[in-house]
């Protein structure tokens, strides 16, 4: 079950790289919009993974799940942008570091 066709391997490497780029982006970027984009990168890495596995296994389940993930990502972006706009109205900045009223 483990031996993977070369093509799947390539997709997994791509998605692993994308996921790592996204995670690093969330950690080091200070602009909220960029953070949001980095999160989308992570979700898209998951989508690549799911579709690649779905193709290799010959089961549609993964592709259906991908559509769910894309839909949820759209909802997440909407909520995230609403929060960012509200933050901008209150603080006139969307820098993550400026948000430090709650120190934890």
């Amino acid at each position: 079950m483990l031996e993977t066709a070369p093509s799947t391997d390539a997709y997994l490497m791509l998605s692993g790289t994308l996921f790592a780029v996204g995670l690093i982006g969330v950690v080091i970027r200070r602009n909220m919009i960029t953070v949001l984009m980095a999160i989308e990168l992570m979700l898209n890495a998951v989508n690549i993974n799911l579709v690649a596995f779905s193709h290799r296994l010959g089961s549609l389940e993964g592709q259906v799940f991908t559509i769910f993930v894309i839909t949820v990502a759209a909802g997440e972006a909407a909520v995230g942008l609403a929060i960012i706009i509200q933050l901008y109205r209150l603080k006139s900045t969307i820098n993550v570091d400026e948000a430090r009223m709650l120190n934890g």
Partner: protein
């Protein structure tokens, strides 16, 4: 979709329709004729009624899960769904004052609570990783908005922002884990995963997937080292929402944690149990030690809730009947003690963020002895002192850990419970031994009702726990049998 499928899903369909109606009610003529609170309570009662009716119908049906085996209505999910309905009903009562005195819209608030509840119910019933994920996201997205509901307060917006960023990242990590598990097992159905794993020897991709999945779930239950968001979000969110996050949404995360690990991954127990045991120990130590120095009651309870996540994780690590029952009992008793505490905190509070310091509780005994006594009972229950219900929960969890050979974990848990009594007693000392300022308790009928219900439940379930234990045992049975079968197949 057949009629049978409809029976499985009827309570959620009613709830989602009702929540959507609450959302559009303000633009119709309904706004003036009925109040949002009573509409929400009616919706909760109808949902609970349909849930009970459907749970009667299901045992007679030949299949155990509807919608292509994605959605189960078993005793385990019914237990949690009723608990969630109770939590949301209490949160509605707690929210009444806060919504009346603030300038924020009520209909959207209740609608979002309804959607969050719908997500939790999906999580409790999901036997397929897709169902579980959708439920989790429905809960999370509603919670992000609710945490920022004081939208003109910087603190609240900031809490929403932090919750959103960390929540979204943890969802992505969880999903990556799910995608790897899918790649190895070829399915997203929990039972099929268990079946596939009984033939697969442990491998790196699978191990990595399970660890990522566990990381995502640990974030949702706020276990250390994934707990950093908890104090900030609990402090910044409106207090009724803090009450919701610390009880309902936490219990829902425990439900999926248990379901995934007991049903899908029991054959893999030796590999993940040490990882989770470490996380449990770390949560208990970090949560309890950090709580000692907190001045804000909301932050103190946030750290204590991190510690409680550690206690519950012991039941999952133990992977035996006792542990499973322990998780259910503990979620149950924790809900009562915690909601009770939040109702008292809300009584102390006069405007948006006041009444949240430990010093605000000074002299509560001389002003209103009954509420001081109630607070005392809730704190004892959180600490796990015998006459209260919290003791029963801790007893199950500690016993399960010892039984499973995690004696060291149980010892850490007992020591840390002793530490936790120190900071719980700080509030008690403030209430009983210090002289209070003139601040008075402004309790509405709803808050008094909630506190009274919770104090009665905490004492009654502590003194006569038999009914609760019987109920929990029958709820846990189905889940553990499935786990036992797959584990035997592995050996």
């Amino acid at each position: 979709m057949s009629l049978n499928d409809l029976i499985f899903l009827l309570p959620e369909i009613i709830l989602a329709t009702g929540a959507s109606l609450l959302l559009i009610a303000p633009v119709t003529g309904l706004r003036d004729s009925i109040s949002a609170k009573w509409a929400m309570i009616a919706l909760l009662i109808i949902t609970a009624g349909s849930l009970l009716a459907c749970s009667w119908a299901v045992p007679g049906m030949e299949q155990t899960a509807g919608f292509a085996r994605m959605f189960a209505l078993d005793a385990f999910s019914i237990f949690f769904k009723l608990l969630f309905l109770f939590v949301v009903a209490i949160v509605v009562l707690l929210s009444d004052d806060f919504l009346r005195e603030s300038r924020y819209s009520t209909w959207e608030y209740y609608s979002l609570l309804g959607f969050a509840l719908c997500g939790m119910m999906f999580m409790a019933s999901g036997v397929h990783l897709a169902t579980i994920y959708i439920g989790l996201e429905l809960l999370s997205l509603s919670s992000y908005i609710l945490a920022g509901y004081y939208k003109n307060e910087q603190k609240s917006t900031e809490a929403a922002m932090k919750y959103f960023v960390l929540g979204a990242v943890s969802s992505a990590i969880l999903l990556y884990g799910i995608s790897l598990i899918y790649g190895v097992c070829g399915t997203l159905n929990l039972l099929d995963i268990a079946r596939a794993l009984s033939t697969v020897v442990s491998n790196d991709a699978l191990m990595f997937g399970v660890i990522l999945l566990a990381c995502g779930l640990c974030f949702k239950i706020a276990a250390a080292p994934f707990h950093v968001w908890t104090p900030d979000v609990y402090e910044g969110a409106p207090t009724p929402i803090t009450a919701f996050l610390s009880t309902g949404s936490k219990a829902a995360a425990f439900a999926i944690f248990v379901r995934i690990f007991y049903v899908a991954l029991p054959g893999f127990h030796l590999d993940w149990s040490m990882v989770l045991a470490t996380v449990a120990a770390l949560s208990m130590i970090v949560g309890n030690l950090a709580a000692i120095t907190q001045e804000s009651v909301k932050r103190l309870l946030a750290y204590s809730s991190i510690a409680h996540a550690g206690y519950v994780l012991m039941g999952i690590v133990a992977m035996n009947v006792m542990g499973l029952r322990g998780v259910l009992v503990y979620s149950f008793v924790y809900v009562f003690a915690n909601l009770g505490i939040w109702s008292i905190v809300l009584m102390m509070k006069r405007h948006e963020y006041a009444g949240e310091k430990v010093s605000d509780f000074e002299g509560l005994h001389s002003r209103s002895p009954f509420w001081a006594f109630s607070m005392f009972v809730f704190l004892l229950s959180l600490g796990g002192i015998p006459p209260t219900a919290g003791f029963i929960g801790k007893y199950f969890l500690f016993y399960a850990a010892v039984q499973a050979g995690f004696g060291w974990l149980a010892i850490i848990a007992v020591l840390m419970s002793a530490v936790s009594m120190f900071y719980y007693l700080r509030i008690v000392v403030a209430m009983y031994l210090r002289d209070g300022k003139e601040a008075d308790v402004t309790a509405s009928g709803a808050l008094k009702f909630v506190a009274a219900v919770c104090v009665v439940a905490t004492i009654v379930f502590g003194v006569v726990p038999n009914d609760l234990i019987d109920q929990v045992s029958s709820s846990a049975k189905g889940l553990h049998n499935k786990g036992a079968v797959t584990r035997n197949a592995t050996r």
